[in-house]
């Protein structure tokens, strides 16, 4: 993980590029345009939010990046590679809106999943699993089953599973949308602390203006029908951010700018 930390502490311009989307188009069934003309550059250490109303293509963008579907037109390039496909697909972590844990497996076995599917034995990665669980504060629950945990704790397990392989990119698809506001704020804080510790690169899909401003250094505001990027807003506030940032004038100013952009996105749609 030291490798990632050095990557992140480099000045912005020198950070290695993780992912580039060039003018990506996705059409379903030949007629439904889910996403149009999306371009995005992701550098190591970025925290990027995709914000927009339902149907704006943000989940489609995430599924394209995850390699779960192929773009109709345009290119998605990893690490500046020249290939067309998604060579780096195995090297990402994903957190869904639901915790998506295997109910029959213990917490540790759930976190072990990405390694297991790469043919590694549990014993050989026990250290990584313990480290990931301690990063999300669940080291004591390694042998618990998912049903014994609260919703927030299950989500932490899901996050631990996403980062255990130290992936180049972590995709989060509205991970905290189903949680109560207090748990959600707590997890937002923890996520930023986690990012400060391990310097992960995150693309975060959300409906929430407040969540996106608090977490991201860039917010991609998207509009629906057809799904497209409307505006990219840089959040000009240094990390680490804590509860004090939530009540600061800077935070309020940013939420106002982002809210206006979102209103424009909804207005154009409606």
């Amino acid at each position: 993980m030291t490798d990632l930390i050095t990557r992140q502490t480099l000045p912005l311009g020198q950070r290695p590029r993780v992912l580039e989307m060039h003018d990506v188009l996705k059409v379903f069934n030949g007629t439904v345009t889910a996403l149009k003309g999306m371009s995005l550059t992701v550098n190591a250490g970025d925290f990027i939010s995709l914000l927009g109303p339902s149907g704006c293509g943000k989940s489609t963008a995430l599924r394209l990046i995850a390699g779960l579907m192929q773009p109709t037109q345009g290119r998605i390039l990893w690490d500046g590679d020249q290939g067309e496909g998604n060579g780096g697909r195995g090297d990402i972590g994903v957190v869904f809106q639901e915790p998506t844990l295997m109910p029959w497996a213990t917490v540790a076995r759930n976190v072990y999943l990405p390694f297991r599917l790469r043919g590694k034995s549990f014993a050989s990665v026990a250290g990584e699993i313990r480290e990931a669980l301690s990063l999300v504060g669940l080291e004591k629950f390694a042998d618990a089953y998912p049903r014994e945990l609260s919703g927030g704790m299950k989500m932490r397990v899901s996050i631990a599973r996403a980062l255990v392989t130290n992936p180049r990119l972590i995709l989060m698809d509205e991970p905290f949308a189903a949680l109560d506001e207090i748990t959600r704020q707590k997890l937002n804080n923890d996520l930023l602390q986690l990012k400060a510790k391990i310097g992960c690169t995150v693309i975060f899909v959300t409906h929430s203006v407040f969540e996106s401003v608090f977490l991201s250094d860039r917010i991609v505001v998207m509009a629906a029908r057809p799904g497209r990027v409307l505006e990219e807003i840089t959040v000009d506030a240094p990390y680490p951010r804590d509860m004090a940032f939530r009540t600061s004038a800077n935070y309020a100013a940013h939420t106002s700018v982002v809210s206006k952009a979102l209103l424009a996105a909804i207005g154009e749609t409606a």
């Binding site: 599924r63 995850a66 390699g67 779960l68 697909r89 195995g90 990402i92 994903v94 869904f96 639901e98 998506t100 295997m102 109910p103 029959w104 497996a105 999943l113 990405p114 297991r116 599917l117 790469r118 618990a144 089953y145 998912p146 049903r147 014994e148 945990l149 609260s150 704790m153």
Partner: protein, 285 residues
Amino acid sequence: MTMQDRSSAEAVYDAEEARRARAIRIESVARWLLPLLVVVATVLGWQWLVTANDIPHYILPGPFRVWEQLVTDWPMLRDSLFVTLKITVMALGVAVVGGVLLAILFDQSRFAELIFYPYAVILQVTPIVSIAPLIFIYVKEPTARVLICAWIVAFFPLLSNTTLGLKSTDHNLRDLFTIYGASRWQRLIHLQLPSALPYFLGGLRIAGGLALIGAIVAEYVVGTGGAGSGLAFRILEASYRLNIPRMFAALLLIGVVGVAIYAATALLSHLMLRRWHESAIRREG
């Protein structure tokens, strides 16, 4: 309900909670006591009916007469019991292997499912009594005849339940497996089979009862040519001789076998699911 919010406060009961606690205590006793009382009452009522009306034992024997017959005929009935039990367990075993393997085949190949599923349904909906005489003609080995009949009856719930279970995986988990580059085999072993386990065990409970029914019915239909020394054959034989107490004794044993099979499959299901599945979790609070 979770391990972190269980408080260590001392017990305080208001009237409503006390009532609830009492109701739970009463139910925990009644759950065992009531069925037991009903069984005892039935046996006593039956005995009273027989003695009070002077019913001869070749029409309706009393329960104690049946018990005597069971003890007297035990060596013979025990052998028959083992035959029936063996066939039932074997049929269930073959049904489990066949049903699960077919379900996996259907899951892995959509075309295999399209081609073979109609046959599975036809086998299922055709009454075994009508197929059994044909099996009697084509298969010479007596045990094999009965086994085939019992298998035909038992395998379908395993096939259909396991097929459903293999398809009922969480779609996000499926995506996750794709993202991590899981092979077909890894997906089957680590995702689909565990997801299908509760469905399979549900099918097993049904199939256990059906295997017994299949074994008995098959013996009635095909086992009469000296093939069967199972319990069904004993019932037929006793009916020819008007030995009604022995019929009841054999019937009692069949009932016991049925209950034992159900209990065994329910216990297996509980042991395999109790750590994680909703069906096996007792609700708290």
